[in-house]
Symmetry: C2
């Protein structure tokens, strides 16, 4: 399937003509504009394109027969006779009318105008901005992929002020740039005067044109009158302004876009980057994004000919740093955000309540299906949410066990090696020393981190492996499994469980015997993300949590909470689901996969569907109660200015609701079938609490592709789960964050292949190249990405 993207050819200026309503004169204005372009730009080619036309061909032709007389090309791609909305007219269509097919035809047509010759294309839409397209989507959504600069023909009639502004708002919130508003002057209602001022405040020139003559008695007279009108009006200074604006806007857009890498190089301090490696060649400019694709410009791959599109669609292979859920440029998300902004803006949350925040808290607390969790604390990102979580855990443990950091007690945390919880100092301290933190002045790892067995596929087999030969005694030798489901069937893996339990118990006894005090067990359930996409054996995580809960009460000398199924026992269990939760691994909560009910869990990234920052830290009542006291200073004195900002909460409500619907309504059933055949749900006994219904494991990446990759000569191992695919490449120099084994493949994917539209943007973590998709990515899109990856690895 072709990946058509946004259009920007150096010598071709395109403008898409939208109408504020039907009957506002789009065709007349387009005709005038073409004629004005023709006269003012004698050296240019001028093209008129009407992708979709409804209404009898005769009438349109007769009325405007002469309009393209002088060296203007004119084309209609889809013609329907009935003078009704295209979605009705298209019922009898014989050609494909889905949006992608239409867009591909429009793209190819416009592409044919692009060459060494200066040119302008005027692309006229059908009906109003949101009139239905043949497929039933609306005009502005149909054409959004191309994101052509827009010209809005305003409505000069009674009521036209409102409909013109509303139409502009509909275009604007879909990410269009409207360069001009153009409408017929009309002295009685004088919409022009009002709109001119209104849009001037928004930086958009508004221009008026003389209205066309009233329809004459006969066709001949009418045609004559229109000819005269066109002839007289094509020189109108409003049109000259629009022509200049179209030329200038194109130049300025090109200049702004192509200068972005250099400007970024001058002014930006990028995250996670060694800037000695940075230059304007390797900064990717993103002009816009839609669905799973960025529209990109790279100074490193400047087009060699003028018919080569400056913009290149690049699959967003990191799901924009693991955040993307509902697709880029999603107009529904944009509207939800706008609604919350329009209803509240931000309203401070101290001692306050607003519907979006309360609903979201309730939705999450119920969605995770963990009866322990009863309280929701809001912050802005995973790192701050984890800071809050750690404060919660340490306080609860310290209070129960009588530890006092002010009198010298050093309270630490337990975790897994290679964990990552954020970049603020408090969360850095929760991870073992690594390339990320070891050179940070204030970093001090405060804990003990366990080695652990990992899950991967090699040579077509799922295996669980010890982290090294020295651990085979503790974790068992390499074991093969028929499926991921078998690995996650924790209750059936009794021999492994015994080994793990013995190891965990012994380690904890040794550590605590040294007097070490642990205030939280912190884990990323299933996958340790930034640590290098380490897929932990779920049985090990489960066993670690279970044993810690069991033995620490006695060791630390308090059985408070015993007998209360919902109170924390032994040590607060803290799950960092920032990356792994909320469907990233195909399930609402990733804790459910490892069959642990944490006492605290942190959720961000996908929470807002991939639009803006928000984080929630969920906690149990027994954690919450540790902060209750008559003293204000005993409270969790934490908060950010934009705590529970309404826009984020409302977007999150919408995103979770949408993803839950996708799940329930079977949007992923094809993926699930691919991974496990038909029946996908069964019920398992929840070892650490109540019974829970458990989905089996599945991925959006095809099982055959994953299997094929696992045999590849350069691939050490691979796994896929949910929307995540991770490929560990062999690196003779050793794996880890500083390995460069992945960069070759990453660069090849971004470069793409001559003649094939679209490339892949991906991120690497050392020798691991991973790919991720939004939760709305289609099977066709991902199949194409898989083909491209396979190609690049040949």
């Amino acid at each position: 399937m072709r990946q058509v993207g946004s259009t920007l050819w150096p010598k071709l200026r395109a403008v898409q003509v939208y109408g504020a309503n039907t009957g506002v004169g789009k065709t007349v204005v387009s005709t005038l504009l073409c004629k004005a372009l023709r006269r003012r730009l004698p050296d240019f080619n001028v093209h008129y394109l009407k992708p979709i036309s409804t209404g009898p061909l005769d009438e349109a032709d007769n009325r405007h027969l002469s309009r393209f007389s002088d060296n203007i090309t004119s084309k209609t791609l889809l013609q329907f006779d009935e003078p009704v909305s295209p979605h009705i007219a298209a019922r009898s269509a014989k050609e494909p009318i889905d949006d992608r097919s239409i867009i591909a035809r429009v793209y190819d047509e416009i592409h044919s105008y692009a060459n060494d010759q200066d040119a302008v294309a005027v692309v006229e839409t059908a009906g109003g901005v949101l009139s239905p397209a043949p497929s039933g989507s609306v005009q502005a959504d149909l054409y959004r992929t191309l994101r052509l600069p827009a010209l809005l023909v305003g409505d000069h009639r009674l009521g036209g002020i409102g409909s013109t502004i509303s139409s502009w708002e509909s275009l604007h919130l879909r990410g269009y740039d409207v360069g001009n508003v153009l409408l017929f002057g009309e002295s009685y209602y004088d919409n022009y005067t009002y709109l001119k001022d209104y849009f001037a405040e928004r930086g958009i020139p508004t221009l008026s044109l003389p209205p066309p003559p009233d329809q004459a008695a006969t066709l001949e007279e009418d045609e004559k009158a229109m000819l005269q009108y066109y002839d007289a009006t094509a020189n109108h200074q409003s049109l000259s302004s629009v022509v200049s604006q179209i030329i200038d806007a194109h130049d300025s857009r090109l200049k702004r876009l192509t200068s972005l890498p250099e400007r970024a190089n001058d002014s930006i301090w990028h995250p996670f980057m060694q800037h000695t490696e940075r230059n304007k060649q390797n900064i990717l400019a993103i002009d816009s994004a839609y669905g799973d694709f960025f529209q990109t410009y790279s100074a490193a791959s400047t087009p060699t000919s003028k018919d080569q599109n400056i913009l290149n669609p690049a699959f967003d292979g990191s799901a924009s740093w693991w955040t993307q859920g509902l697709g880029h440029g999603n107009p529904d998300l944009a509207l939800v955000a706008a609604h919350a902004a329009g209803r509240y803006g931000h309203v401070m949350f101290a001692s306050a309540a607003h519907e979006p925040a309360i609903s979201l808290a309730e939705r999450l607390l119920s969605g995770v299906e963990n009866p322990r969790l009863t309280r929701c604390f809001y912050t802005d990102n995973g790192s701050t949410g984890m800071e809050v979580a750690v404060k919660m855990g340490l306080k609860a443990a310290s209070k129960r066990y009588g530890w006092d950091s002010n009198t010298g007690d050093n309270v630490e945390i337990l975790g897994l090696k290679g964990s990552y919880h954020g970049d603020t100092i408090g969360t850095m301290d929760c991870s073992d020393p690594s390339a990320y933190n070891k050179k940070v002045e204030w970093y001090q790892g405060r804990g003990h981190w366990f080695d652990f067995p990992t899950v991967k596929m090699t040579q077509g087999r799922w295996v669980v492996e010890a982290p090294g030969a020295e651990f085979e005694n503790d974790f068992g030798a390499r074991r093969e499994f028929d499926s991921l489901d078998d690995i996650f069937a924790l209750e059936s893996r009794t021999s492994d469980a015994q080994k793990y339990e013995k190891y965990v118990r012994q380690t904890l006894e040794e550590l605590t015997a040294q007097g070490r005090k642990f205030g939280a067990l912190i884990m990323e359930p299933v996958i340790l993300g930034a640590g290098g996409m380490l897929f932990a054996d779920p049985l090990f995580q489960h066993t670690l949590a279970r044993v810690a809960r069991e033995i620490l009460p006695d060791i630390y000398g308090s059985n408070a909470g015993a007998g209360d199924n919902l109170a924390w026992q032994g040590i607060p269990l803290l799950h960092d689901e920032v990356f792994t939760g909320l469907y990233r691994l195909g399930h609402f909560s990733s804790s459910s996969l490892v069959q642990i009910q944490p006492d605290i869990s942190v959720h961000a990234k996908l929470l807002t569907g991939g639009l803006l920052p928000l984080c929630t830290t969920l906690a149990s009542e027994s954690i919450y109660e540790a902060f209750l006291s008559p003293e204000k200073s005993d409270a969790l004195l934490h908060g950010h200015s934009y705590t529970a900002h309404a826009v984020g909460c409302e977007v999150a409500n919408y995103s979770l609701d949408t993803m839950q619907k996708l799940d329930q309504e079977g949007a992923w059933s094809e993926y699930k079938k691919d991974w496990q055949g038909e029946g996908v749900i069964d019920t398992v006994s929840h070892a650490l609490g109540v019974k829970a219904q458990k989905d089996k494991l599945w991925s959006m990446w095809s099982s055959s592709f994953v299997s094929t990759l696992s045999y590849h000569k350069n691939v050490e191992s691979v796994f896929a789960i949910g929307s995540v695919l991770a490929i560990s490449l062999k690196d003779p120099a050793g794996s880890g964050y500083t390995s460069t084994a992945g960069t070759g493949l990453r660069d090849a994917l971004l470069r793409g292949k001559e003649g094939v539209e679209g490339v892949i943007h991906s991120r690497v973590l050392g020798n691991v190249l991973y790919l991720m998709a939004s939760m709305t990515a289609t099977k066709e899109t991902l199949a194409e990405i898989e083909r491209k990856v396979a190609d690049a690895m040949k």
Copy 2:
């Protein structure tokens, strides 16, 4: 001036009828709806209100004369004869046509319907959703204050699908709840079928009605036909559905709103709160917000009679935790956010560039007018931005001075006592021990914090005071000044400067003689916010920075950077402008007020105009260069998923642009005049760098009010600067964060005064009650707030 707010009376259901365009049949639908209400709800009062009507009274009357025959009240508030848009018709108006006046009349009229009797009010708008109001604003903006539940009459004509959806989008992004779409059924275009499905996906029932008869030949026949139509159609099941929806939506809204405090009490862990003090009585429910006002419901002040509005407008006196800049529910901000969401969503920022982020970086770097600052690093909030800043400072200093924390060097920071930089562990460690941090397990203050003299007004005089008698030798005795400007005229205060310099020099020499290593001097310029609104003597901050820069190179043994005006010297100067910057104190940068060019500065809160979280850390080239190396692990390995999210950056660009325009175009000139008479600009020599133009000091709070407060018997001192007013109340038990001296006044302000519309929501910091406004608050609004504060203190 009256503070009219949103409307919600228990027994009165109101619905506002908007049209997708002029001529879609709003009046016919409203008439039918009234008649249906009348029939279906015999025990209810039914009211029809047309606040603004244009067109000849006769015609409207004749055509619909009989519609209100049976026990329906009907009223028009403003009638204009000309059948044109109200903004044109109103040119000849004799009554006030500004939005506030009209809204007050509508409010009073609706209020007169509210009592013990069940009732419904149908309020019909004029023209389309965005048709101009008499004042020239648009309908949906005019009525936004009331935020009545909306019913949208769709357009059944050709093109009506698009105009109906666009109209809904315009309402939606202004924060309206649209309960129903209602339109005439029409078989040829059949807009209904399309719209029904479209809006069903968005949770909005769409219903169709039989179209009215065509206009008859004579007036009599026409009236007869319409009468028949009304009579036959008023029983239509679509109308029954709408009637039920109106009743149900009202009940459900009441229930949701009044349950919010309890639901919050059950599910939310609030920021900065001791929850033993929380109950559903003291959680404020915020239904919506507009301009400077929340629309609030409190279970503690449940209306005593049915004609008492459930909602109470409350002035947002903390500017929503210091964030608010351009007013709540600002439709322009909502649209800007939506545009960025529609164009990009979020696009990952690693090695990437997009226009909103690059433009914002350039805008900030140029706006602060500090030639040292060349690089912009993005994070999500002040706390994370400060974490980044500290990492920058410590690394730069450690590198230059050869300190290595891995081999035991303990690098600390310098600051002021009572500082506050955020709640993540790294930023907590930058503050001296206090009620905020002392009970946090992992807190460890890592620095030295200076005592400092403070600025305040007492008894009508501006004074600079030492923090206690024991410091009078170091800082000088209490000194009076004629104006704030005199205090900020640093160059003329030579004697103070000498005292401060001696103290700072001696302290630094003592500290460093102990071997202490300081990697950053961190200050909030002018005002230490969360520490208790401490107004630092700007000369002390200036002197501290200057002396540290001067003497530390020799002490630490490196003059690298000497001779380079833009390189950091002695110690990186780090300014936390999160609260004080971006016009909060009336100036783009608060660093300019203390005449320091920091090497690093952090900006958030007002950055996004008060909509959503975003933070920037600006740094100089010499700081940036400290991270350059061939090793990736030497880089600043920090980043958040939503780093430089496009929505935040675009909103920030718009907000800064708007505030800069407000400044340049004289929006605050009345405030400035009040504080300093006419000429407000002069040029001073910038002691630490190049020359800079310096605005004088001013506040949005009136100078007379501030002066009056300073004489009040319960007031220890007061100050105002920019939009900040801080009142230190006398507390025999001592001041500080745990003082409760402010809560009495806070509670009185929130309670309000019987018979006076609107209350004040404020926050206290111990014995300090502060007030803050958005940067668009009007003189009239603030004057009213001042009167209420004065009243409450009587």
